[in-house]
């Protein structure tokens, strides 16, 4: 059974008198322990897709099943609970609370989960250990490097053992070396069984995923394993092997 099943998802925005189709009949299935990168230019609908996958937004039509449960008919409360228990978010700009320590930041989702409340300290320490920050628990975000901050954010996303980890440009604010570190962490999480969906526009980052979904004009342009995607989309550039173009790509 897939973790995620999107059926004919359409999202319409009304801007003045004009109607914009941000998503136009998207069908997508993501199985257990997949590592998917969603790529596309700005305006391709990838952010809207991300918001719908994260239950932050509702589609105008179509159904979204997460873990076998249809979320599209849920009210605000149950949807908040789904976000809390089934989804872990990682954002481009980390979104840590500046006044809270790493530990307290990681605990945050459990505050809204009565079931997790009692063991939250222990669980937070555990997850911080997993992301390699066992010795930085009592540091505040401004005492941590960018990479460390993103690790804290990842730990926070993992604390409720989510069905999917949703990462929105997770390396967008990091230098290339730190980016590699974070991507290595994602790889490790994937290998340990975590389902990951990552939105990015950088091919180098997307390359780490096992499957790449390309979006264009609110539709799925292609949905291929990474190797085939590389062949189909990078092949012309590789064949011509024009250094300038490669430089632009990098």
């Amino acid at each position: 059974m897939p973790v995620i099943r999107l059926t004919e998802i359409t999202k319409l925005y009304r801007v003045g008198v004009e109607q914009i189709r941000a998503l136009d009949g998207v069908n997508l299935e993501v199985g257990q322990n997949e590592y998917v990168a969603v790529m596309g230019t700005s305006g391709s609908g990838k952010s809207t897709l991300m918001n719908i996958l994260g239950c932050l937004d509702r589609p105008s039509s179509g159904t979204y099943e997460l873990d076998g449960r249809v979320t599209t008919r849920m009210g605000g409360g149950p949807l908040a609970r789904v976000r809390n228990e089934r989804i872990g978010f990682v954002f481009q700009s980390f979104e840590l609370m500046p006044r809270l320590t790493a530990l307290k930041n990681v605990e945050l989702p459990l505050i809204y989960s009565p079931a997790g409340w009692w063991g939250r300290g222990k669980r937070a320490r555990e997850v911080l250990g997993t992301v390699g920050l066992g010795d930085r628990m009592h540091h505040k975000p401004n005492q941590l490097s960018g990479g460390q901050r993103q690790r804290v954010a990842i730990a926070r996303a993992l604390i409720n053992r989510p069905a999917i980890l949703l990462a929105d440009e997770p390396t967008g604010n990091l230098d290339s070396r730190t980016s590699e570190e974070i991507l290595a962490l994602f790889d490790a999480l994937y290998r340990s069984g975590q389902t990951i969906i990552m939105v990015t526009h950088e091919p180098d980052v997307a390359r780490h995923a096992r499957r790449i979904v390309r979006m264009k004009d609110g539709k799925v342009l292609s949905d291929l394993p990474t190797e085939q995607d590389a062949v189909r989309f990078a092949a012309p550039v590789a064949a011509e092997s024009v250094p300038e173009v490669a430089g632009v790509g990098g």
Binding site: A80, R83, E95, R99, P109, Y112, P114, A115
Partner: protein, 423 residues
């Protein structure tokens, strides 16, 4: 965990969390929080100070009434609303003025009255040798006065029935007169001049307690002489003080006395009273209603300042919501329900107001202490009663909840996507 338990537990947890969060938020913006709550602080400080002053005043007035005696009833002549000297007076003078025989038979007709004394007073100069004092209050009393007023006789004896019946030239002075006329240690048996007459001092009583309300403007010197001795002219003013058998009988005694007096005066059914029957109880009630009115007015003023304070709270909470839009977005993204966000901001406003209330209360206590230490103000008994403390916190909390509601709802309704995109 069962579903039924889930929500209440979640709310308690969030409330607990929010309280801590709110405190840290307030602490992080100390100056801003202080300025914001200034309205609340001033409001609470002023209301508690006013209430403290009134409570102190009430306390001292009531204790004064207490020494005055709550079982006393005054029977006073009454000239009507247009009283005064001119032609406006309603009733003829000889119908209004009391005569010595007016009160004859009172005890037989008024079973609730234990005893009474007729009283007349005038001012005269007193002297002894070269020592003299002008305009001293000379009061003519009957022996029963001693039981009604219960003033302590420190030397000599009280008046006897014979003093009164024979209209003897004897007097009782208070210890102030003793000092002022330099009568020595034991003036009993000595004599003093009252006007042009010579009186023998038979007793000394203690001067009345320092009084802010009654007799504050009077001279401290008092001289008492027997009623019959004092009553040399029929035009002299006379009143009567009756004592009930117990304070609880005051209303009955008043009714009895009114009936008795109307009969004595021969008033017809449609005629107005030409006298007044007033109890100390009545004064207490009057004072209480005045105090209540003042409290109401003060309450109104404080209400306005709390309103202003509340608007300040609302303003700063709106600023806080807009400053923390991203935080709200994140909280929603990780699973905070709108109700949790609402509670968080509501509790922050509540905490802000309660802290303001606490500071206001401390300021009020400071002002009260300062007020109590000013001797001339005679507010040494001023204190903040428990109900005023409860009221202050209650009002602060109400202001927090009412004015915090709009910003909290605004925060709870934020769209998480928009909020996370907010710069």
């Amino acid at each position: 965990m069962t579903a039924a338990l889930r929500l209440p537990v979640a709310l308690v947890v969030v409330a607990y969390q929010s309280a801590f969060l709110a405190l840290s938020q307030i602490w992080a913006n100390k100056l801003r929080s202080l300025l914001t709550t200034l309205g609340i602080i001033i409001g609470v400080a002023s209301v508690t100070t006013v209430i403290a002053a009134l409570s102190g005043l009430k306390q001292s007035v009531l204790s004064e009434f207490e020494t005055f005696g709550t079982n006393k009833i005054f029977i006073l002549p009454y000239w009507g609303e247009g009283r005064g000297r001119g032609p406006r007076r309603d009733f003829r003078d000889d119908k209004v003025r009391f005569k010595p025989e007016t009160f004859d038979g009172m005890l037989e007709h008024c079973p609730s009255v234990a005893r009474f004394t007729r009283l007349c007073d005038y001012n005269a100069s007193i002297s002894k040798g070269r020592m003299a004092e002008q305009m001293v209050e000379i009061t003519g009393i009957e022996p029963s006065w001693h039981q009604i007023e219960s003033r302590e006789v420190i030397m000599g004896r009280p008046f006897s029935l014979i003093d009164n019946e024979q209209a003897r030239p004897v007097c009782i002075i208070n210890d102030k007169v003793q000092d002022k006329l330099a009568l020595g240690r034991d003036p009993v048996g000595d004599w003093i001049m009252i006007g042009q007459r010579r009186f023998t001092v038979v007793g000394v009583i203690k001067a009345r307690a320092e009084s802010s309300m009654f007799g504050g403007n009077m001279s401290d010197s008092e001289v008492f002489i027997p009623f019959s001795t004092a009553r040399v002219s029929p035009r002299m003013g006379m009143i009567c003080i009756a004592a009930t058998k117990s304070p609880a009988l005051t209303d009955e005694a008043k009714a009895e006395l009114t009936f008795f007096m109307r009969r004595q005066r021969g008033l017809k059914v449609d005629e107005e009273n030409t006298f007044r029957v007033e109890s100390v109880e009545q004064f207490v009630q009057q004072f209480n209603s005045v105090a209540t009115a003042i409290t109401m007015v003060a309450g109104g003023i404080v209400g306005i300042s709390l309103l202003v304070g509340g608007v300040g709270i609302m303003n700063i909470m709106l600023v806080s919501v807009s400053e923390r839009t991203r935080e709200i977005g994140l909280r929603k993204a990780v699973g905070a329900r709108p109700s949790a966000i609402l509670l968080q901001f509501l509790i922050e406003a509540l905490m802000l107001c309660l802290l303001g209330g606490l500071m206001g209360l401390l300021c009020g206590q400071g002002l009260t202490t300062a007020m109590a230490s000013i001797k001339e103000a005679k507010l040494d008994k001023a204190y903040i009663p428990g109900w005023a403390v409860a009221l202050s916190f209650g009002f602060s909390a109400a202001v927090g909840l009412i004015f915090g509601m709009f910003p909290a709802i605004k925060a709870a309704r934020l769209d998480p996507i928009e909020a996370l995109r907010h710069e």
